[in-house]
Structure formats: C-alpha cells, structure tokens
Symmetry: C2
Subunit: 233 residues, 2 copies
C-alpha cells in the first residue's frame, strides 16, 4: 500500500464516483499537490479498502472514481484495552496512538475509584485513532468505547480472556495463562492502583491477575506493555 | 520505597554525611517542603540505594546523613535497544522514558543509511533517563551509548542474542527463537527500514530477523514493542 492512504466514513463497495471529505481533498490537492488521474487508497476503518482515481482536483470537494472495494477479514487476535485515563492529555493521546499502531480493536476509558478526572476530547481522540490507523497501514479503526467502571465493564458479557494488571500479590506472568482465547481484554488501573474492592470485583468476575514485570510502570506504559504481550501470544 | 527517591552521581557506601545536588536540595526543601530529620532515598543509578536523613535543610546545599548503602544485583535479563533515532525530539524523549521504565540496560542511537539527522541532547536525555529510572523505582540507569552504525555496533564482541527487526522477508516471531540468552539486543531501523546492505551485514554477523507483528509500526513504537517482548521472554 504505497499510495497515499486516507479515511472516509462512507465508502461505496461498488465502483462509483465519490466526493471525499474536505480534509482528504485538502491533503491531496494542496499538501501533496496531486493531479487529475492520480490514485489514492481509501478505507472506512471497518475492514474495507478501495483504490480511487482523482477525477476532480478540487481542494475542498475532490471527486474520485473508486474501484470495487476489497474487504480484509479482522485479525484472529482481538485485544481490547480498558485503562484508567491519566490527567496529562498528551499521555492519553500518546497511548491512543500507540495502542492503535499495535493493533488493539477497542479502548475503554476505565473509571476507577482512584482515577483522576479527565476531560474527554472525543473528536480529537478519534482523529488520533484515524491517523494512527492510516500510519500503521491498517483498515480497522479501534472502537473508543464509552467510559465504564470496573463493575459496569465486567457486567457486559464477554467470551474471551480478561486480565487485570494490579500491584498486589497474586499476579502471574502471561506465560502462565497460555494458551489464550482469541478475544482478550486487559484492565489497567490508575496511578495508585485499583482498590482492593475493584480487584475483588474483577477476581469474582473471573479476571486473571497479570504481572507486567519488575519495574513500576506508569499507567500508559503498563497499557502498552500489556497490549503488546497480548497481541504477541 | 515510599520515601521521596532521588539520584546522586556519587553515593557513599558507608554511613556518612553527604551534601546533595542543588536539584535534589531544591526539590526536597522548596518543592516538597521537607524538614530537618525527614528521610529520603538515594540511588547512584548503578545498583546502590541508601536511606538518608536531612541534617541541613538548605534549598541549595542540603546535607543528609546516609545509612549504609544496599546493593541490588542487576536483573537476569539484560536488554539493550539499538535504534535509529527519529527527527521529532519529543518522540525520542518518549522512547527514552518508556524504554527506561520497561527496564532496558542500554540504548544505542543507531546510525543507519536512511536515518534522519538528529541533534543529540545528551544532558537533557540523561535527565529523562534519571527521571524515568526514579519514576519506575529502579536503581539502575540505562547507559546511553555513543551513536554507532550497524557495522560498528556488530563489530564489538557481544555474548548473547542479537535481533534485527526489518520489513523484508524472513523475519520470525520471537517465540520461534526461544529460549533466549540472558543478554539481548535488538536493532530497530529508521522510517524506510534498513537497507539490504545493512540487513546483509547484520545477518552475516548472526543477527536473528525478528517479526514485530502485522501492523506497520513507527520506529519508536517498534523499539518499545521489541524491548517489551525481549524483557518478557
């Protein structure tokens, strides 16, 4: 996929004419100086990918002729990261970018008893997920779920392995939980860790206590380490 | 280690009086408003840790009475990250922080044929390593080695497993290289990957071609994913 790669919410599956977003138009025509007849790739972030040829080189309302869209099956391993967001906005954005690059399918802002208040920036965050998806040449955009407490999250039926990485006794390295189910979730707590009550709730719900190593990791680092391990086992 | 934790280049092993750095003094007295008789922890970043009691509460030249220093053996797994630094300084700094948190023992700025020029900020980078070491409650500061080309790096004798993560054919997931030696190194290339010549040099030197997954990772993300996997196997 060496052609310029863009995101469009709505993508025709059949070959047809499409007027792309102003953002994509501007990037192609003004930034990349693309000309009539040049090709780009488009994805809708739900597995569909299509090649498109510029037929109207307008920097606000560029029109393209799309070819028949191809569907890419989802990856076998489906990892969801449920993590207590940190106060520092740049650390949240960094986490969203890296988790997307590594290939998580979903992110759940976890509301823990010790979580700091954070301001949701849904649109900005969504743009980060889109850029990271395109950057890492993927056709699936992770789903940013609505924030939930540990209890709320675990109340929703989930068929797969759910882990909780906490700092109390009883955690084990991932190797001791192999083989894993295809669907995987990990819960990462705030600075100051989950409360004993939250850990009890998780344990009662069947969460597996995960050890992330010898060093004390920042919340966002723990999230990245956990998804890396889950994606690679 | 719940006491405030600081770095001092020189740490007495026997109990004695020590005048700490202006930075530590300022942080204890001015920021934390610590008083005479309060305790802190000090490490020199090479395995030594000591508890110290404030005996002169001076915000520029604070004096402490140290107790006998304790030595912590190095971790069994010793991972070194050799990575082509990226142009964006904040991404380099982020990488240094995260690699330290995850527990690498060394970082080598790799000069690749396709590397972009980067400005070395040794002092600033060293401070990032120190903060990350303290933040993650470690007593070993990673060594930031001098920049080297692939050839230069591999010319130095190294008894352990060396991996190279490239985007050409022939890479395998880490699982296929188990068990690993205690000493591990991974080479991460620039945006645009290593050249075929660099990969040939590495392969001839016995480097193992490592697969970091299905998604295309940014350089700094590839570095983090690689050290996470090496630290956890």
């Amino acid at each position: 996929m060496q052609l310029p790669f863009f995101y469009e919410t709505i993508l025709p599956q059949e070959s047809s004419v499409l007027t792309v977003s102003e953002q994509t138009s501007k990037h192609c025509i003004q930034v990349l100086r693309m000309q009539l007849g040049e090709k780009i790739l488009l994805t809708n972030g739900t597995g569909w990918l299509t090649e498109a040829t510029i037929i109207t080189a307008d920097k606000k309302r560029m029109a393209v002729q799309t070819s028949v869209a191809m569907y890419k099956e989802p990856a076998t391993i489906q990892t969801t990261l449920a993590i207590s967001f940190v106060k520092n906005p740049s650390r949240i954005e960094w986490l969203l970018e890296k988790a997307t690059e590594i290939g998580v399918v979903g992110i759940v802002p976890l509301i823990c008893e010790r979580s700091e208040k954070t301001v949701a920036k849904s649109e900005r965050w969504d743009n980060i997920l889109i850029s990271a998806m395109l950057q890492s040449k993927q056709v699936y955009k992770p789903i940013l779920h609505k924030a939930a407490t540990v209890k709320e999250l675990l109340a929703v039926p989930f068929s797969g392995s759910t882990f909780i990485a906490h700092c109390l006794e009883g955690t084990k390295p991932l190797a001791q939980y192999l083989p894993l189910a295809a669907y995987r979730r990990v819960l990462i707590g705030p600075e100051g860790d989950f409360t004993r009550a939250e850990i009890a709730t998780a344990t009662d719900a069947g969460c597996l206590a995960l050890d992330l190593g010898q060093t004390r990791l920042r919340t966002e680092t723990a999230g990245l380490v956990a998804v890396t391990l889950l994606q690679h086992h």
